[in-house]
């Protein structure tokens, strides 16, 4: 149900007046939320940015879910990368010491290998993600938009028929 709702919103967003930049930034920031463990201090800042910058919320939410799955796949890589950054690079040790001893910042769990590895990856990928998503949005709007609009599934999703149908079925089930 939630996925259908989200797909519906995403389709609407892709066909809305929002600029490709707004959609792409939504994707890129949502990717950070998805790739890194959600309950972390840095994600408060990302959520704040998503809320106050004019980025598309649906694309951010969609990206969060998509990249959470990707994060699960790349978890061993994040662990290895995080361990290397935190332990195996001597020139970074003074920075980590500083953060470790700083009040509040030490609560960010930066010294967790998964948090460090995934945050590093997601920050490295921020701009490439933005550029990639913008290119995809532009490409979609130029090439696919009209065709997709005619798809039956798209119509159903767009009109939220599926959502309404689900609600009816749910009530009929007595739950």
């Amino acid at each position: 149900m939630f996925i259908l709702k989200l797909l519906s919103k995403l389709l609407k967003a892709l066909q809305s007046a929002d600029s490709p930049n707004q959609l792409a930034w939504g994707f890129a920031l949502g990717a950070i939320l998805g790739l890194t463990p959600l309950w972390n201090l840095h994600n408060i800042l990302i959520i704040l940015l998503i809320f106050i910058l004019k980025v598309n919320l649906s694309s951010a939410l969609f990206s969060l879910i998509l990249f959470s799955l990707i994060a699960w796949i790349f978890d061993p890589l994040f662990h290895t990368l995080g361990f290397a950054l935190l332990v195996q690079l001597p020139f970074l040790q003074s920075l980590w010491n500083l953060l470790y001893n700083a009040p509040v910042l030490s609560l960010s769990r930066f010294n967790d290998t998964i948090v460090m590895g995934s945050l590093f990856c997601s920050l490295i990928l921020l701009v490439p993600n933005f550029l990639l998503f913008r290119w995809m949005v532009v490409l979609y709007r130029r090439t696919w938009n009209e065709s997709v609009k005619k798809w039956r599934l798209a119509k159903i999703l767009k009109s939220s028929k599926a959502v309404r149908f689900y609600q009816k079925v749910k009530f009929l089930g007595g739950k």
């Binding site: 959520i47 809320f51 106050i52 662990h79 995080g82 935190l86 290998t113 590895g117």
Partner: protein
């Protein structure tokens, strides 16, 4: 900018904060329980935990740690406790407790339900590689399991010892070795016999001797004839030289070959001795001088106690970990990272109890209070290398007026080279409940007695040392399952019944994974002295019989070998020695003849020179007279 976005953001943060505050106690509880279970390997439960965010205080109603060896019982149970945490440290996610007073600590309390972890979780907790302590525990149990069965039947030694079957089992090596020696001797003799069948220098020697003997310088009239005779002797000398070299070489070789066999009696003695020792091992004749009575009686109990102690120490090691030069990459469940710690400028580790005041009892209930304990500990920390001071404990306990207990320990994990030491002193403990192993020829219980126990343990990198001294007094043994079926066992019963003090010294050393476990007692000395007296005669008889049987079996073959050697020595060395003797004699004869001829030539030459001088002189006189 979408300034209105602040509102949902703040709402979201607010919801998160409210949820966090509502569930914080449960999360902290869960975190402590999970960490504890990872250390102990059984359920750790905390009831009624409350964290006060405003004064940073924590309190709980009950804290239970299940005994992993008996999951229906608690290792430790602590009642209501509260303490404060240092706020500045908490802001950095460090849990620093300056002082905590833990009262009403009990051990061995019954659990309402099983405290075992689910199998999967337990496997995950126990997946660590076995270390020095696990190896030590296994090795100790093996030491006890591998104690040979105690043999005390004197009749067994003399009657049931089947020497023939033992000899058959032992497969005497001396017989094969003597046979092998014989084969070698035969082969050597054959080779020499083949040589001697082709080597006949007698004719040549005879010819040379005849030729030399036939030369008589006195019978030769002229000097040129004598010079010709000298040439003949020199030619014979040259021929003889070649022949003698061959004879000398063969003489040396033959003697070397047969000298090799002349050392066989020493070898045979050694082989017989080796066979004898092997049979003794197979016979498993009891060594009455070391019956290990202390080890048999108290070994299992001591090992059990040491193993329990090792388990506790392993727990301490998990709570106070060792420093590693660099963090090692750990295997961990998916989506769970590894926390890396860095140097802290405040000297605060991630978890620290600076001072712990403890009181409680070792018994599970008020009816069975056990030892009433009190004491303190300092520097309990998850990162001693950051705290920089060792963890120190000092606990004292008493039970009634007479019994007392004191445990002191220092766990220095501040560097990579750990230095731990623990001392343990118990006074006036009753021995009635002390379990002793059931062995047919030893007592099965202690019916009365008191003891003082002093134990000391020192652990360093790759090194483990433990000394336990039990000093028992007013002791009486119970002989319920004693098998007093022969003179020796009756003697033991008499000796042990008369003893009223026991002195047990246990020493355990581990260095570079080599375990040395010794348990000695005054019982061993007293009993072995008596057994030695009674058993030495029977043992000596058995040993003599084995020795005689080996001698008897090997005697024929050795005699045969001796005979063969003498025979072959005569057959081979006899002719060669004869050739050597003859060639030496002829050589001497030639040398003498040569000197004789040479001397005759010189004499005649001098005579002829004198004659010529005389003749020249007379001719000159005639010439001048004319």
């Amino acid at each position: 900018m979408r300034w209105k976005g602040f509102i949902p953001f703040l709402v979201l943060i607010g919801i998160v904060c409210v949820v966090s505050i509502l569930f914080m106690d449960r999360w902290i509880e869960g975190g402590i329980e999970k960490t504890g279970e990872a250390i102990v390997g059984a359920k750790v439960e905390m009831d009624g935990l409350h964290f006060n965010l405003f004064n940073l205080s924590v309190e709980w109603d009950r804290f239970q740690v299940t005994d992993p060896k008996n999951t229906m019982q608690n290792l430790i149970e602590i009642g209501r406790t509260d303490f404060n945490m240092r706020s500045a440290a908490l802001l950095r996610k460090w849990f620093v407790i300056e002082e905590i007073t833990v009262a009403d600590v009990r051990s061995g309390t019954e659990r309402a339900y099983d405290g075992a972890l689910p199998p999967k979780k337990q496997e995950a907790e126990e997946s660590d590689e076995p270390g020095m302590l696990d190896h030590l525990k296994d090795q100790l149990q093996r030491e006890i399991d591998q104690l040979p069965v105690m043999q005390l039947s004197s009749s067994d030694l003399t009657q049931k010892l089947n020497v023939d079957s033992l000899v058959q089992m032992a497969d005497l090596k001396v017989l094969d070795r003597v046979d092998s020696l014989k084969t070698d001797l035969n082969q050597t003799s054959d080779e020499w016999n083949r040589f001697l069948s082709d080597f006949h220098p007698e004719e040549e020697l005879k010819m040379i001797r005849d030729n030399i003997t036939s030369i008589d310088p006195k019978g030769i009239k002229t000097v040129p004839e004598l010079v010709a005779a000298l040439g003949k002797v020199q030619s014979a000398q040259s021929t003889m030289q070649n022949l003698k070299e061959t004879v000398d070489l063969k003489y040396r070789e033959a003697h070397d070959d047969f000298d090799r066999f002349s050392y066989y009696p020493q070898h045979i003695d050694r082989w017989i001795n080796e066979d004898y020792q092997r049979i003794l091992q197979k016979a498993k004749l009891p060594d009455l001088s070391a019956q290990n009575i202390g080890k048999r009686l108290f070994g299992q109990e001591m090992v059990n106690r040491i193993q329990t102690w090792i388990d506790y120490y392993a727990l301490i090691q998990k709570i106070i970990p060792e420093k590693k030069e660099k963090p090692e990459k750990e295997e961990r469940p998916r989506l769970e990272g590894q926390t890396i710690h860095f140097a802290d400028r405040h000297g605060w580790p991630s978890f620290l109890i600076e001072h712990l005041l403890l009181s409680g009892q070792t018994g599970s209930s008020d009816e069975q209070p056990g030892f009433v304990m009190q004491g303190e500990a300092s520097g309990i920390t998850s990162q001693p290398w950051i705290y920089g001071k060792p963890t120190v404990i000092d606990l004292r306990g008493a039970r009634g007026e007479q019994r007392s207990l004191r445990i002191t320990g220092s766990f220095d994990h501040t560097t990579t080279a750990i230095r731990d030491s623990i001392a343990f002193a118990l006074q006036n403990i009753p021995l009635q409940n002390m379990a002793i192993a059931e062995t047919p020829y030893l007592p099965s219980s202690i019916s009365r007695g008191w003891a003082d126990v002093n134990a000391f343990t020192r652990i360093a990198e790759g090194y483990f040392e433990m000394q336990i001294h039990v000093n028992g007094r007013d002791v009486a043994f119970g002989f319920e399952s004693f098998e007093a079926d022969n003179v020796l066992s009756q003697a033991i019963q008499k000796i042990l019944a008369g003893l009223n003090r026991i002195d047990i010294q246990t020493n355990l050393y581990v260095r570079d994974a080599v375990v040395d476990f010794r348990l000695t007692s005054n019982l061993d000395q007293v009993v072995s002295n008596e057994l030695k007296k009674m058993g030495s005669q029977a043992l000596a008889e058995a040993e003599t019989r084995i020795r005689q049987r080996i001698d008897q079996l090997s005697r024929d073959r050795i005699t045969d070998l001796e005979h063969l050697l003498t025979q072959n020595q005569v057959a081979v060395l006899g002719p060669i020695d004869q050739y050597k003797k003859q060639s030496d004699a002829i050589r001497t004869l030639i040398d003498e003849k040569l000197q004789e001829v040479q001397a005759d030539i010189n004499q005649r030459q001098q005579g002829e020179a004198g004659d010529l001088q005389e003749r020249a002189k007379s001719l000159l006189e005639d010439l001048f007279n004319q």
